[in-house]
């Protein structure tokens, strides 16, 4: 018998919290992006845990789609970051306020 599902869910909650805190306290745009990936991984872990607990393959399929969307998101996000850094080198998240209303 494998480890109880609640331990996996607890670990996923801890990972998500670390990612969320990192997203809030870091100013480097790239590190903020990595924290988003951490949160996505925590959600993936939850999906897989429930797939095993409820004996349903749909949870793993959802993780498959999350992986694809994460890849697309990283490609577009890093393209935006590169074009921002090309205009103003060394910009942190606080310097990028040109889009505010």
């Amino acid at each position: 018998m494998t480890v109880e599902a609640s331990w996996y869910l607890t670990l996923a909650a801890v990972l998500f919290t670390i990612g969320a805190i990192g997203l809030l306290i870091r100013r480097n745009v790239l590190v903020m992006f990595m924290c988003v990936e951490l949160m996505l991984n925590a959600a993936n872990l939850t999906f897989v845990t429930f797939a095993r607990r409820l004996n349903d393959i749909a949870g793993q399929t959802a993780v498959f789609f999350v992986l694809v969307v994460a890849a697309a998101e990283v490609v577009v996000g890093l393209g935006i970051i590169v074009s921002i850094y090309r205009r103003r080198p060394g910009a942190s998240a606080d310097d990028i306020h040109g889009l505010k209303g």
Binding site: V3, L24, N44
Partner: protein
């Protein structure tokens, strides 16, 4: 903790604890590392830990995809961009415009985590067990995911392919340098994503190829035709 873990077999418990420690240490490393390269490497550690947990939970296909796509492609992309932009960029903490944000964020995060753990204490997984899409044995995990993706979720799969095409086109458009501003650094933002330029093909990703100041005769006709036109208008008879 011990009685819950005691219900599992010893190798499973050891694997879970080791992978969980690796995951949490990697996640803390991502947040706390000063150097973005170290953050990316710590992210790889977390991703490998999650992959181990996927294997532990009978998701073998997803574990392989996790290593290949995340650690192999996404983190490499991160490292590529970090190296492209320069690794010696320190975060300017001394001129932090929101000095109170960090402690407030940490407090709110810990409060939220404690709330989730307390509220869900003892009754995490709820819901009815599936009657149609059974998880099956580890031997046919790939078959089951394939059948699920190509039958039940076929529409979502097709939309995903469209999403990937849009993402690739968007990355190419975002990363290319505007042609009518050779410097590119002080161009207005609208010029970066000028829609009338269209896509010239694979060479559009190379910023030097679309730059008329450095476009040599080897550059393809599409990329340099405008530059030649401009030169002929200026210097021609």
């Amino acid at each position: 903790m011990t009685n819950v873990l005691a219900a599992a077999t010893i190798p499973d418990a050891i694997t879970f604890v080791l992978a969980a420690v690796i995951c949490v240490m990697g996640a803390l490393g991502v947040v706390l590392a000063r150097n973005p390269v170290h953050s990316a490497l710590m992210l790889v550690m977390t991703l490998f830990g999650v992959a181990v947990l996927f294997v532990e939970e009978d998701a073998q296909f997803l574990a392989a995809v996790q290593v290949i796509v995340y650690a192999g492609a996404i983190v490499v992309l991160f490292l590529f961009v970090i190296m492209l932009l320069g690794v010696d960029q320190r975060e300017a903490i001394e001129r932090d415009p929101l000095p109170a944000q960090r402690p407030i964020a940490i407090c709110l995060g810990i409060i939220g985590l404690a709330e989730v753990l307390l509220l869900a204490r003892g009754r995490w997984p709820v819901g009815a067990r599936s009657v149609s899409g059974a998880l099956g044995s580890p031997a046919n995990n790939v078959q089951l995911i394939g059948r699920s993706v190509f039958t039940t979720y076929l529409l979502a799969f097709e939309v995903t392919s469209a999403l990937l095409v849009v993402a690739v086109v968007g990355a190419v458009v975002l990363a290319r340098r505007p042609r009518h501003a050779p410097g590119g650094d002080d161009a207005p933002l609208g010029a970066v994503v000028a829609p009338e330029e269209g896509l010239d093909g694979p060479e559009a990703t190379d910023p030097e190829a679309t730059d008329p100041m450095v476009a040599g005769p080897d550059v393809t006709e599409e990329a340099s035709s405008d530059a030649e036109l401009a030169d002929s208008e200026v210097t021609g008879p």
